[in-house]
C-alpha cells in the first residue's frame, strides 16, 4: 500500500485531519496522567531518605525528559523541512518550540522546588539544572529568531538551520557541563542518584512522561493548526472554514 504523503502534507487536508487526531491524543494524555498520578501518589512508597518531597520527581524528571525529546523531534522536523522543502515539517518544528520551552521551564522550577528542601537552596549549579537552563536558552533563541524574521519561508529555513546547529551542540554542551560540574562540585548530592530507583517509581515516571508526550502531540497539533490559519489567512479554504465556523 502506498500512501500519498504529499497529499496529507498540504495544509488544506492536514488541518481537518489534525482536528480529528487532537481529541484522541488529549484523551490518551489524560488517561496516562491519571494512571501516572495514581502511581506517584498512592502506590509509590515514601522514600526513606527524602520523605514525601521526592514525589516531585514524578513531574520533574518527565518534564526534563520531554524538554530534551521535544528539542530532538523539533530538530528532526526542521531538518526534514529543510531537506524536502516541506512547509508542513517546518510548521511542526515551529509548533513544538513553545511547548518544549514550557517543559524546560517546568523542569527548572520543579527542580528548584525539589532542591530547596533537599539542598537547602533554591538553586544549585548541578549538572542537570545547568543543562536545562542552557536548553531553555536554545529554545528561546529558536523562538526569537523565528519571530523576528518576517518572511515565513526564510523564518522556517533559518530556524531549521539553527535547530540543527543546536542539536549538534547539545551533546557537547552536556558533556562540558558534566565535566565542569565534576571539577567544581566533587561529590555533592546528585539529583539522579538520590532516590534509589525502585521499579514502581520508574513506572510512575514513565507513565507521566508518556502522558506529557501525548499532551505534546495534542498541543503541537493545535498550534500547527493555528499557524496554518494565520499563514493561509487569505486562502480560499481558510475563508470557507471561517465562514462555516460561526
Amino acid at each position: 500500500m502506498k500512501i500519498n504523503w504529499f497529499k496529507y502534507s498540504s495544509p488544506q487536508t492536514f488541518y481537518p485531519l489534525a482536528g480529528k487526531m487532537i481529541p484522541w491524543f488529549a484523551w490518551l494524555a489524560t488517561i496516562l496522567a491519571i494512571a501516572g498520578l495514581y502511581i506517584s501518589f498512592v502506590i509509590a512508597p515514601t522514600d526513606f531518605q527524602q520523605g514525601e518531597a521526592y514525589r516531585i520527581i514524578f513531574v520533574h524528571v518527565p518534564a526534563a525528559w520531554m524538554s530534551m525529546v521535544i528539542y530532538i523531534v523539533m530538530a528532526a522536523w526542521a531538518g526534514l523541512g529543510l531537506a524536502l522543502n516541506a512547509r508542513l515539517s517546518a510548521m511542526m518544528a515551529q509548533a513544538l518550540a513553545p511547548t518544549g520551552a514550557i517543559f524546560t521551564l517546568l523542569a527548572l522550577v520543579t527542580g528548584s522546588l525539589w532542591g530547596k528542601p533537599m539542598w537547602g537552596a533554591w538553586w544549585v549549579w548541578d549538572a542537570r539544572l545547568t543543562s536545562e537552563l542552557i536548553l531553555l536558552f536554545l529554545y528561546l533563541g529558536f523562538i526569537a529568531l523565528q519571530s523576528s524574521i518576517d518572511d515565513p519561508r526564510r523564518a522556517d529555513r533559518a530556524g531549521a538551520l539553527l535547530a540543527l546547529v543546536g542539536v549538534v551542540n547539545v551533546p557537547i554542551i552536556y558533556f562540558s557541563v558534566k565535566w565542569w560540574n565534576t571539577l567544581h562540585q566533587g561529590s555533592s548530592i546528585n539529583m539522579g542518584a538520590a532516590p534509589k530507583m525502585a521499579a514502581t517509581m520508574l513506572l510512575g515516571m514513565l507513565l507521566m512522561a508518556l502522558a506529557f508526550w501525548m499532551y505534546t502531540v495534542a498541543v503541537g497539533l493545535m498550534r500547527v493548526r493555528c499557524i496554518m490559519l494565520e499563514r493561509e489567512r487569505s486562502a480560499d479554504w481558510v475563508k470557507a472554514l471561517s465562514l462555516g465556523a460561526k
Binding site: 517546568l106 528542601p117 499532551y215 498541543v219 493545535m222 493555528c226 489567512r233 472554514l241
Partner: protein, 54 residues
C-alpha cells in the same frame, strides 16, 4: 495505600508547599497553554472571516 488520612495526604510529610506547588504549576501551564491556543485559533478564524466578508 500510603496514607493514614486525607490530611496526611495533603500534608505530604511536611513538604506540602514544594510538592503541591510543583504539580499545581504543571497543571497551570497545561491549562494555560490549551486555553491560549484556543483563543489564538478563534482569533485567526475571526480575522479571516473579516477578510472573507470584505
Amino acid at each position: 495505600m500510603q496514607w493514614a488520612s486525607w490530611s496526611a495526604f495533603f500534608n505530604m510529610g511536611g513538604y506540602a508547599l514544594y510538592v503541591w506547588v510543583s504539580f499545581g504549576l504543571t497543571l497551570l501551564c497545561v491549562v494555560w497553554e490549551v486555553l491560549a491556543l484556543r483563543k489564538r485559533s478563534a482569533q485567526a478564524l475571526r480575522l479571516s472571516r473579516l477578510l472573507a466578508q470584505e
